[in-house]
Every structure is written in structure tokens, then in C-alpha cells.
Amino acid sequence: MERFELIVIGAGPAGLSAAIEAASCGMSVIVFDENTRPGGQLFKQIHKFFGSKEHKAKERGFNIGKNLLNEAEELGVRVELDSTVMGIFRNKEISVMKNDSVKHFKGNSIVIATGASENMVPFKGWTLPGVIGAGAAQTMMNIHGIKPGNRVLMVGSGNVGLVVGYQLIQAGCILEAIIDAAPRVGGYGVHAAKLARIGVPFYMSHTIKLAQGIDRVEGAIIVEVDKSWKPVSGSEKTLEVDTICIAVGLSPMSQLVRLAGCKTLDDPKKGGIVPLCNEYGETSISGIYAAGDVAGIEEASSAMIQGKIAGAAASKDQGYISEDEFKARQKKLENSLLQLREGMFGHKSTAQVTHTDEGYELSHSLLKKGYISDTELSHYPGIPTEDDLKDGLVPVIECTQNIPCNPCQDACPKGCIKVGDNITNLPSIETSVKCSGCGMCVVSCSGQAIFLVKQNHSPGYGLVSLPYEFSPLPDVGDIGYALDRLGNVVSKAEVISIKKTPVMDETAVLTMKVPSNLTMKARFFKPAMKEEKII
């Protein structure tokens, strides 16, 4: 038996943050994780995060993970990997399996940060090889470097489905379709738009009927569902896919919470069975805290803050920080957490949102098909007017939903972009300030929704600069296709410049030349196949 002032179960964003906070107050902390690598899901998250600077916005998940680990190490936190917590007993004792033996530990306080697991949906053929969770696909690609399949169907249009769908394409897969039984795209519109402009079709109000194949997936049949979720007969479509990714939500891993005897409740909005917690994340058992997805499904940014609050609370319980010091820390963290929960995707909003906080009508085609239609586009404050476009280079910010994010505002050295104090505000452009064309806003936007447009570059031609995250990177002078927001080829395009510097963090700014009248339509560059002749 060994005793620690704080035991943390789970070395993900919540657990590590709790450990760091507590250790920085002077506590002796041990963290257990059953995986070989620490960091929870962070190390497979290669996309840039949302939020504001203090939420580590525009940093990529795996880099956030690395920094958390370094910080924990510097503070002397002991991280035990390959260590499965099997039981949690009275008086805060836990049993841990490691290397085929069982050891017991006691903590003055315990933070349970066990995260979540993927939901599954049963259909005919769902146990065939080739049906995998979207998270599993992400692990295969980003941890093990393995391509999960060639032609993929993504079931679920929440952020997980959208983000992993994009990564599948980056890995070289063809994403045949994204389907969702709900009538609207569940995740951020900007994530959906990234896929639509590459040509991924969105089928909302569609569910999977069956997976074809004898000993592996050889196809999928999808079917439309009506308002009462009943399949519409005759609406079946067959998709030739070898992989079906399931991204239909997450469930908190609450076994240890329940084993400990904490009071729980079944809250569908939080993803299932979660511990009843007070505002500091303390469960019904004094000294046992829950933080991160186990306390209710959110995302890594809020998990980190919840972890910090729990770590600070445990430090206060044991006298490492004063009541006042704790209150001050907690208040700051709480505000930061509230910011993330604002906006139309925040977990407080229940109603079907139809307008942004500013009163703009939401793009229907974005919610239905994943792209903003030409007619809807001009409504939003980030879109330049016809007159603005005549003036020369302007940023075009296709950010049309209230999501908590503001790196674009700080990215512009000229101050062309304004979000304001409320980080869920839609960004607006200040066209009286001349855009220098540096492209920092383009790469800072985690949703890849910012473009630079110059309508008149040479007679009849204009320029479009866009974020580009595919390899191989095209060369200057390459000729390819310009795709519009729904992925249709609208013209041929020539790569005029490629900008990629370390500060851009792997996102390149690709500038292509397209006919002037298409500068507000063309949003993606598709390289031509080798030896393909472009007319």
C-alpha cells in the first residue's frame, strides 16, 4: 500500500490538468492510466482547437498533450502507465493492475477522469470487420499510422464525425458520404464546410440500414428517415464502401464512479450516466471528484478547465491553498469554462437555434448540405460587399455560427478582424483597414473558414488564398481545378504561391489564380492527376 495526497485516475486532458494544478499547490500526486501512452485522446487529435488563447485555441491537440505532460513532469507528478484501476473502495482506496500483479493505493482525495467511450448503433452487419468507431479510425491513423480503409462512410455528423472524416481524407481515403439521422448537421458548420468543398456529400435524415459483405464490409445501404425516425421505403441508396465509421456520440466511462458509490444520474444531455457533482466537480462522496467527459460529454478544452478546478479544490480541502486563493482561482476558471459553453453548440442551448445571437438567420444549406449557398453568404458580417471586393485584397470570413472561438481577431496585425469580448460573436471585417495579405488569419482559423480574395489581379483573373492541409503540397505553377463550396469543379486554377512557415503550424496558405467572377465561389484547390490534361 502506498499513500498519496491526490490520486488521479486517467491521464487525459482532465486528469493531467488536475494533477498539474494540485502539484503546483504542493501536493503529492500520482496519476494512473491504463494506456501505454498518456494524454487520453489528445495525442490523436491533429486538428487545431477552438476557443480563445487561454483555452489554447489554434494549437493542435497533440501539442497541447505534450505540453501538459511536460508540465506535469516538471512539477514532479508521478504518471503510472499500463496501470488499470480495477476497483475503488471505501476510504479512498484503489486497486491497480500492472504487469500481472495488483497493487493498492490510498489517496486523501481522488479525481476520477476516466473519459468516455464511443457509442455504437446496431444494424445488420455491424459486427463485420470494417465497421469501426470514428475514434478507432483516428487512433489507427494518427497513433499507429495505419489507413483504416479506402472508401469510407461516416455515420454521424457531429464534430467527431466531421473532424475524423476530414482526417480520413488527409490520410488518403475517399469519404463517400456523411450521413446523420438528424435533419441538421450536428457539428460546427465550419467543419462541415471543409468536407463539402472537397466534394463529400451530406445526407441528413438518413440512417444506415445494413452493411453488405460476408466476412468484411463490401458496401452499405443507407435509407432516408422521416420526422418520426421511421425509414422511408424506396429511399435506399447503396454506397460502395469498405469501411463504415460510427460517430454517434460518446458515453461517460462511469464504472469507477459507480463502484465508488457516488450518486449518479442518467442525463441524456451529458451522454448517459454521470456522477452528481457540485460546482467544483466534487461527487456525493467528499474528496472524490470527477472531471472531464466522465462528468458529462464535452470536449478537451472544457475537460482541462474542469480538471484544474478539481485539482484546486482538492488542494484547498487539504490546506495547500487558502479558501480565498481557491475562490479566486475557481472564479477565473469558471469564467473560462462558461465562455466555452456559450453559443449555439453550448450544452445549455436546447432549442433548435434558427438565428445567430446577432440576429442573422442561420444558413439552411450549411445545416442540410454542409456548405453555405451563394444567396445566403452575403448576410454575414465576415463577408465583404461587392464594393469592398473592387478595392483589392480582402479577407472573407465564412464563419456563420456562434461558436466559442477568436484567434482570427488576434491574428491580424492590421486589426481588420473583430470578434469582440464575447468569443462566440461572429467575426466581422473592417474594410477601411488595408489587408496586407500576410495570411495569418487564414492559418489561425481552426475552422479553416477564412480566405483572402483579390478580384482583379490581372485582366479577367483574380486570386483566392486558402488554408491547405494536404500532402503532397502542390508546387507554384501547378495547374489544377478550383472547386466551389460544394466541391464542384468551377474552373481550372493555377497555384500562384504557397506560404508555409513554422509559425503557421503545418497549415499552408495556397494562393490560386481563377477567373475574376469565380473569386467568391472557388474555395478549394484540387491538384490534377499525373499526366492529366486540363482543358
Binding site: 480495477m86 493498492h104 459507480r258
Partner: protein, 108 residues
């Protein structure tokens, strides 16, 4: 057992459904039909069904199938999902080799 589950439970005959062959618990390979039949045979709670069929006693310890089984029970018994309790978790919360259990360093 939930207070809602009283006398008015399933007493009609079991009727096979076209999707009864679908596996619900992957670890123990239990089908939807087997779970439905168990309910008709008098297993009304998820704990009873677990002991009767081994649903949720495999590798994932119910983390994947609990929600799916719950939906089936809710539908068959006409209950609200939130009124159905999932099986009580027990240590070990994860599958463990017996040799590891035999080497319990409690006193060390």
C-alpha cells in the same frame, strides 16, 4: 427493480422480429432475439438479463452494449430509458488475468 415495474409486465406471447439475429453484446455474442426472449421469460431488469445471458460480462464490461440493451428493455416493457437501471458494476472493472489477481500485493 424500479418501482415502475409492477404487475403490469409483458405477458403476451413472444413474437420473433426480423432483426432478432443482430448481435447486441459483441463480447459475449448475444443477439437481440435472445435478449427479447429473456424479457418474455421474466427477466425484467438489466441485472437479471446480465446474469441470465452474460450480456455485458465480457471484455468491455457493458460499456458498449449497456445502452443498446437498455433501449431493448425500454421498448419491450414500455418504460422510459431513464427509469431503467444498468447493471451494478463490480471490481474488477476491467478484465484481469487470474494470475494477476493471485498476486495481490495488498499487504506488501
Amino acid at each position: 427493480m424500479s418501482k415502475i415495474i409492477g404487475r403490469a409486465l409483458k405477458k403476451d406471447d413472444f413474437v420473433e422480429m426480423p432483426d432478432d439475429h443482430i448481435i447486441i453484446c459483441r463480447c459475449e455474442e448475444i443477439t437481440k432475439g435472445e435478449i427479447r426472449r429473456a424479457i418474455y421469460e421474466g427477466m425484467y431488469t438489466m441485472n437479471e438479463i446480465k446474469r441470465y445471458l452474460r450480456v455485458g460480462m465480457g471484455l468491455c464490461q457493458g460499456q458498449t452494449c449497456n445502452k443498446l440493451v437498455k433501449a431493448i428493455v425500454a421498448k419491450e416493457l414500455g418504460l422510459d430509458m431513464k427509469d431503467i437501471e444498468i447493471p451494478i458494476p463490480r471490481s474488477p472493472a476491467r478484465p484481469i488475468a487470474m494470475k494477476a489477481y493471485a498476486d495481490d500485493g495488498y499487504m506488501r
